[in-house]
Amino acid sequence: MDFLEEPFPDVATYEDFHTIDWLREKSRDTDRHRKITSKSKESIWDLTKSLLDAWSGWVVMLLIGLLSGTLAGVIDLAVDWMTDLKEGVCLSAFWYSHEQCCWTSNETTFDDRDKCPQWQKWAELMTGHSEGAGAYVLNYLLYVLWALSFSFLAVSLVRVFAPYACGSGIPEIKTILSGFIIRGYLGKWTLLIKTVTLVLAVSSGLSLGKEGPLVHVACCCGNLFCSLFSKYSKNEGKRREVLSAAAAAGVLFSLEEVSYYFPLKTLWRSFFAALVAAFTLRSINPFGNSRLVLFYVEYHTPWYMAELVPFILLGVFGGLWGTLFIRANIAWCRRRKTTQLGKYPVLEVIAVTAITAVLAYPNPYTRRSTSELISELFNDCGALESSQLCDYINNPNMSRPVDDIPDRPAGPGVYNALWQLVLALVFKIVITIFTFGMKIPSGLFIPSMAVGAIAGRIVGIAVEQMAYHHHDWIIFKNWCRPGADCVTPGLYAMVGAAACLGGVTRMTVSLVVIMFELTGGLEYIVPLMAAAVTSKWVADAFGKEGIYESHIQLNGYPYLDVRDEFTHRTLAADVMRPRRNDPPLAVLTQDATTVEDVEMLIKDTDYNGFPVVVSRDSERLIGFVQRRDLTLAIKNARQKQDGVVSSSVVYFTEDVPQLPASTPQPLKLRRILNLSPFTVTDHTPMETVVDIFRKLGLRQCLVTRSGRLLGIITKKDVLRHMAQMMNQDPESIMFN
């Protein structure tokens, strides 16, 4: 079986934790394509092969969409079941969650929608009592125990099988898509473990979401199917195109957030993959009712211009919370990286779960899963709701149809709910800071949306009550007649959720698309956009980066953001290496270096590549050769070619001169030489150099003066220089 063999590293593959060379990959793909097209005219078989090659992209997208959709459905169903497992179990069929268990029962009442004899809480099952202090304490204890066991299981599985499965995955995927290599990050075991432990982590009641990890899962699926086709498995650049599209199959926001080079072809493919995934998800039907979205918003009440003021206030809150969260989370993660805290990941997960479970159980709004909380907050209170949040004082003689209930004064239940919501808000704000970044799969969308939804709902209820009790004020008089339905608190919750999400991730367009994807409410685009833009402005005033870029910076990944601007007046000569006090540039000559010299050079230095010049005196540039290619070629030559010894001369020229028979056989290495390395002169402004690096995806660039080689600039140097210019620590850029 082929996958059991160790893959033989051949020339032109990359080492782990290094950046790829986009230009080389692109040119290799063009060569391959040209070869196939030219051969396709020869026979029918070749024509079929060329057609297959063209269609392979779409086939890969189809497979990716199918697998991602299936996995997303499985995750949703399993989370649904396991979250309810903490509180009780369905006696008739243990695989049903609470809602599914009571689906057919006739004992549900209006006030207690989920009551039925088949589903029993643990205390009731074990002792027979369902009320009373003893039952409460027993339920509490079992809730905490289940939560602890789920999270312990999750972190142990991650630790034993796939350590790369922890975290959200989006910062690493952004870096991978920009050209970085992390072997094993998108592997099969990572896929399996991430899916399994994501369910466990979400069900344990921790304050985390699953959208970010779903993008990682979708990219793993993409990588898995890429290895089936040699067009993608051998070419890292093409593979990243597929991965960009696959990330969209997970969540559509990847278009803005994750992809680096985004040719329009990828847009079509992403759309196709997302379509297939949505179709698969629908056929699995995890939420019943053929709904695709969890927080489906069914009301269509209009909103008024004057409501933009509270919406913008919510945007400001979202921006402020985003800044606070990013700063606090990065500080905590840095502490985890550098101090003793990082040595006990399992203990950390257990401690945080224990604190979360113990503090979450008493408050009914934090006891249930965060998605349920959000959908309840988005919901508008009609006459059919009986939750505490909708405990308004109804006019008993009212006979309106259900959709047009006028504003009513709040009953005691609503005030009670408000207090609990405020406590829940504070709790969630604090605990998410410590939860995101732990060594289990954790996402950020759902907790941020929860924080925003709670804040929005509180503001909405406040505005509603103000409008009711003071309807003779000027602001309300114009739009709110007594007896009409003016304010929809559910809409405020949606706007708050969008604002907080935008404040943390700094997305704009994708945010509105996501809100639409998650709620299905198209009428409310203007309030959502207003809040998103406000929160982005407010958050950008404090710090330029969103949470994912901050994590990239924290880890020191070599990610050159396409959106950053470089406006300093430095020149290429200031950044290039060697600097004034450094040893001279390590070069190879085209016909005067022996194999032994090359090997010693490779051993003594750790540069990624060496420029090749005509001779040491003239230093005119011929080309550039990669370290890995050199090592492999020399090893190959020593094994396979006779006569190649340490004193053989290495020739990079086209024609090897005729030598007397006594000299050892020369080693011809012209084929691994890159004859078109990118060069700039030493007076090129760094602005241009950064632009070139960014737009072409270069790894290194040579600096010449009057045609003579002067030095080299690598991507790492560029990133360090940019960090230095922005007064950050340039030593934090760790990778090549």
């Binding site: 996958f3 059991l4 599914q100 549900t108 796939a162 790369y164 039907n285 006979s399």
Partner: protein, 187 residues
Amino acid sequence: MQGVFLLRTFVFVCVLLLSEVTAKNSEDIRCKCICPPYREIEGQIYKQNVSLKDCNCLHVVEPMPVDGKDVEAYCLRCECKYEERSSGTIKVTIIIYLSILGLLLLYMVYLTLLEPILKRRLFGHSQLIQSDDDVGDQQPFANAHNVLSRSHSRPNMLNKVEHAQQRWRRQVQEQRKSVFDRHVVLS
């Protein structure tokens, strides 16, 4: 040979699961009507297994709590929704998930608890060959498997599997070092 057998069992299991999933349970459709409080009558929820065209207040709300002329006013305030689910899918998914989780748990217990015991048994029986790769790294499992493989004559396939497993273990060890110990990736 073995591959064909595996393929056959896989297809069989797939067909079994698919038949489970597609068998339409008559209990999987329902019409749910929620009626709010009206005058003295309390709020109520009514459920019945009717199809989509019968999903309205008159068919589902039985027995009707109000009579005659009030029925229309009562029904106007009720909201009826048709819902469908697939109980087979849920059952299959949860059972598959639990079995995968169980298998992973067993494998994890085997890797962390049982293998060191096996290694300790082998310490006393035969010489241990030092592994020359992984300088400075503890590879207790590698030794045990090497000794095991030399003591019996294994067919080629099992050797390959063991080598693949060794390679995978080394990779996971590397990953674990970068993530948990040096905090280089994924802080």
